[in-house]
């Protein structure tokens, strides 16, 4: 198939960016979206032009490295799909496709389609862990966890930290991402001792990073490639209000 791509090009964080149009030809419907960009990049390199920089790594939909805002949606038109698992069969011959980086003040652009998502790491460093040293822990079966709780914790833990929720939100809120980690650890018995300080610290860091407030529109959950549920946001709110009311942050 032949397509027209409109791609955001930006040399670095300081430079102004612009949309550049590239026609691409002979794309197979079985190609992934990133393979289609590979084909374009090979062509650009041979012509001596700079290829388009974009983030990607596992190409199996699990590492969370790929991003891309495609035709106004994070990870493109398919629900429950990362960009690397999006295939060209979902587009039509002759389509014009607009490709942009995640747009959020807290995710500055490094180059072209690559953004800096280190804010997510810092939010987790603020408390998204269980404080336990290696060794000296109890036997794994010593604390049984009801299957329903374990499954719920697992569902929250599947977040791949790609940032689609932020990109989808009109306020660029990171609340779905933060709520997933808070829920996972709040649900598990092992995470309960730091439950209150964790949610307070993570939310404080989230605000510090410049993410916006929750817009309550639910776009984050709709666009999440791994189906993180808005139930987690409810849980985060309960956790946060409860923690603030009886704060242990001394």
């Amino acid at each position: 198939m032949d397509l027209t791509l409109k791609v955001w090009r930006q040399k670095n964080r300081e430079a102004a960016g612009q949309m550049v149009t590239y026609p691409v030809k002979g794309i197979s419907p079985d190609m992934s979206f990133l393979e289609m960009l590979d084909v374009l990049n090979e062509d650009l390199i041979v012509r001596g032009e700079e290829p388009i920089a974009f983030d990607h790594d596992c190409r199996e939909g699990i590492c969370g490295m790929c991003s891309l805002f495609i035709n106004g949606r994070p990870h493109g038109p398919e629900r429950g799909t990362t960009t690397c698992q999006l295939h060209m069969r979902h587009f039509n011959y002759g389509d014009t496709i607009t490709i942009e980086p995640w747009r959020a003040a807290a995710f500055p652009v490094h180059k072209d389609l690559i953004v800096d998502r280190s804010a997510f790491d810092r939010i987790q460093q603020a408390g998204g862990f269980i404080s336990v040293n290696t060794g000296g822990v109890p036997d794994a079966n010593e604390i049984p966890i009801p299957k329903t709780i374990a499954d719920k914790a697992f569902d929250a833990a599947t977040c791949i930290q790609c940032g689609a929720c932020v990109a989808a939100c009109k306020n660029s809120s990171a609340i779905l991402f933060v709520s997933a980690k808070v829920s996972q650890l709040a649900l598990l018995p092992q995470g309960k001792t730091e439950r209150k300080t964790r949610v307070e610290n993570m939310v404080a860091q989230m605000d510090l990073e410049g993410f916006g407030s929750c817009s309550n529109t639910g776009a984050c959950a709709v666009e999440c490639p791994v189906g993180i549920s808005m139930e987690n946001i409810d849980m985060l709110r309960r956790e946060y209000i409860g923690a603030k009311a009886t704060s242990e942050n001394l």
Binding site: M31, G128, V137, P146
Partner: protein, 644 residues
């Protein structure tokens, strides 16, 4: 050079405990005087860096991704082994040890493997304490499943994303140390050289992938946990960024590289579909718990199927050949990966393969769905089925999956002793980037186990022994050795940028990959390997004459990043071929066509090849020197592997 494995004396079950007592300790107050560099933050690197931080060392951790949580450990699907015997099905540390040594076709080091089985038990406890949400049964206890090469259920799992959950556990432990200031994290930073001072590893030179700045970092010890080199084949199940550069440049500084030709070919990958394809996707081995592998009984029927004259459903039960169940009744579809891969190749070579290319076999869930219901199968493997459908546009609940073997894991890597130290003092290698635990073939659910064992429970002990013997003085990055290495790295980058030829990096990489797959892949022979060596040399010369790398060093430049990695793959590819040529026997995933039993099984030659082949660098284009570490099997008798 004499390879001293430093295996402790005594009965195998007591070696590690005795060694832990014998190693020197660093006083807690002195730990803060030592700096450790960890390169790579997957399961091995993140767990090591976090644990060093917990102990009190100053740690600098590096990864080329934008976050440690993207390391390719994340993609492991099926599970992690541990000899917990929660199922009361006869498992034990010794049985896990035995299965692993046998599964590796007797080419791993007994003492290391035994230790791995021992600490496997602690790994599960550790991960659960960190909040890793393993699968549980209705009583709230941990669930298990089986993996290839074992007859017990010892694999712990988190649906089809065990790697992600374990990595997130290690990443959170790492984050905790970053928050405490004990670990300084350098993401989007790639190691491009190892720096040695007075014969010891004392630092690294890196490129900041955002600014292109070439920087030096000094430490008392350096740990490489940089994963495997399967991407030498271009098409593999590895992440696109997985590379050999850090380990390879350490090799060029004097670390020996062991068993480079031992590549694991994973039997259950989605088949190749077109020349543009950038990577292969694995379907977890755990699927073989419920999926049955088959091809049509006759070539004629397979041909009609490929032409579309008949459909899968038209093939009667009696016309299907469940070849694994037929040939290996005891293990059936759960034979180890090398056996499953080789048999898939055999039936496809016979002309009985399915799919348009004929290079695929069926993995069929119809019986399991009939037996347990679709909901039960979806609960066990749902995300894997979805992944398959996304890529192939076929619904695996309705028709069988098509699968074919693909390059997956590399058992070769930097040679290490029992302490995981390479032949360079102060340079350690952990996880997939060392050679020690998997022999010639890795059993499923063992990679995660080794990564975490090395990081959480081995290195934190053994590195202390080394540091306790050395002075606190730090080497400044102004030292001439650092400046020299920085200059060399920059010169190489500038050379790559200046060639301005006509072919892209990927173009070269794909051609190299085809040579490797054709001649050093699932089956090899003397003639093909000799041809491959010439071809690699020809292509490497062409690369340095005709590659086109755009942009400059001083900014984010993904083409330059890839060019450096592919340049190293050319040199590594040749070493893999040298190693394969030297090893005139079949073992594990390394199948020399000249060495097979009448039933086409791998035929080992223990008389002549029961050794680790550790290669010493002598210059690009020169023949490397072979050093042998003889393997002794005192606890698992050397026998022909049989899964019948």
């Amino acid at each position: 050079m004499i390879l001293d494995s430093k295996i402790p004396e005594g009965p195998i079950a007591e070696k590690w405990d005795k060694h832990k007592f014998d190693v020197k300790l660093v006083n807690p107050a002195n730990k803060r005087k030592y700096d450790i560099i960890v390169v790579g933050t997957g399961l091995a690197g993140a767990s090591a860096a976090a644990t060093f931080g917990e102990l009190g060392y100053n740690v600098k951790a590096f990864c080329f991704q934008d976050s440690p949580r993207r390391a390719h450990s994340i993609a492991a699907q099926g599970g992690i082994n541990a000899a917990k015997n929660y199922q009361n099905d006869g498992d034990s540390v010794f049985r896990l040890f035995y299965d692993t040594v046998k599964g590796g076709d007797y080419r791993s080091r007994e003492a290391n493997v035994y230790r791995l089985a021992q600490v496997s038990v602690n790994i599960i406890d550790q991960c659960v304490a960190q909040g890793v949400p393993f699968a549980r049964d209705y009583g709230g206890l941990l669930a298990n499943r089986s993996f290839g090469g074992a007859q017990v259920s010892r694999t712990f799992y988190a649906r089809g994303q065990t790697g992600q959950q374990l990595l997130l556990g290690a990443y959170s432990a790492l984050n905790r140390q970053i928050a405490y200031g004990k670990v300084k994290m350098y993401p989007r930073t790639e190691m491009l050289d190892l720096v040695m001072v007075d014969g010891k590893a004392r630092g690294i030179v890196v490129r900041n992938l955002i600014t292109g700045a070439i920087e030096s970092h000094s430490a008392h010890a350096v740990v490489l946990a940089t994963g495997g080199y399967g991407n030498v084949f271009f098409l593999s199940t590895n992440a696109m960024g997985s590379n050999a550069t850090a380990a390879w440049r350490a090799y060029k500084k004097g670390a020996l590289f062991a068993n480079p030709c031992f590549t694991q070919i994973h039997p259950t990958c989605i088949p190749v579909s077109g020349g543009y394809q950038s990577k292969l996707t694995l379907m977890s081995e755990s699927l073989r718990n419920d999926g049955r592998v088959w091809v049509p009984k006759t070539v004629e029927m397979a041909q009609r199927l490929r032409k579309g004259e008949i459909k899968v459903a038209d093939i009667a039960e009696a016309d299907r050949d469940y070849y694994l169940e037929r040939k290996y009744p005891a293990f059936g579809n759960l034979v180890p990966r090398d056996v499953a891969s080789r048999n898939a190749k055999l039936v496809c070579d016979e002309g009985r393969g399915v799919g348009a290319s004929g290079l695929a076999v069926y993995l069929d869930f119809a019986d399991a769905i009939k037996r347990d219901g679709q909901a039960a199968i979806a609960a066990k493997y749902g995300n894997l089925f979805e992944m398959y459908e996304k890529i192939t546009d076929e619904n695996p609940y309705e028709r069988p999956m098509r699968i074919y073997p693909a390059v997956h894991y590399t058992m070769g890597g930097l040679w290490v002793d029992y302490n995981l130290m390479t032949t360079i003092p102060g340079l350690y290698a952990a996880g997939e980037c060392n050679f020690s635990d998997h022999g010639a073939n890795r059993l499923g659910a063992s990679a995660l186990m080794q990564g975490l064992a090395d990081g959480y429970f081995v290195l934190p002990y053994t590195i202390g022994d080394y540091l306790a013997r050395m002075p606190y003085e730090k080497v400044s990055t102004d030292h001439p050795a650092f400046k020299e290495a920085e200059q060399a790295v920059l010169a190489k980058n500038n050379l790559l940028l200046s060639i301005n030829g006509t072919r892209t990096v990927d173009d070269f990489h794909k051609e190299l990959g085809l040579i490797m797959w054709e001649h050093c892949g699932m089956a090899r022979n003397e003639e093909g390997l000799k041809l491959a060596k010439q071809e690699i040399r020809r292509l490497r010369d062409e690369f340095w004459r005709d590659v086109k790398v755009t942009g400059v060093n001083e900014e984010l430049n993904q083409t330059l990043e890839r060019a450096n990695r592919v340049a190293d793959f050319f040199e590594l590819g040749e070493l893999m071929v040298d190693d394969a040529l030297n090893r005139r026997e079949s073992c594990g995933g390394h199948f020399r066509e000249e060495s097979q039993t009448p039933e086409n099984e791998a035929l080992r030659d223990d008389e002549n090849y029961a050794y680790v082949a550790a290669w010493e660098f002598t210059g690009v284009g020169n023949e490397p020197i072979l050093h042998r570490e003889e393997l002794e099997f005192e606890n698992v008798k050397l026998t022909q592997r049989s899964y019948k």
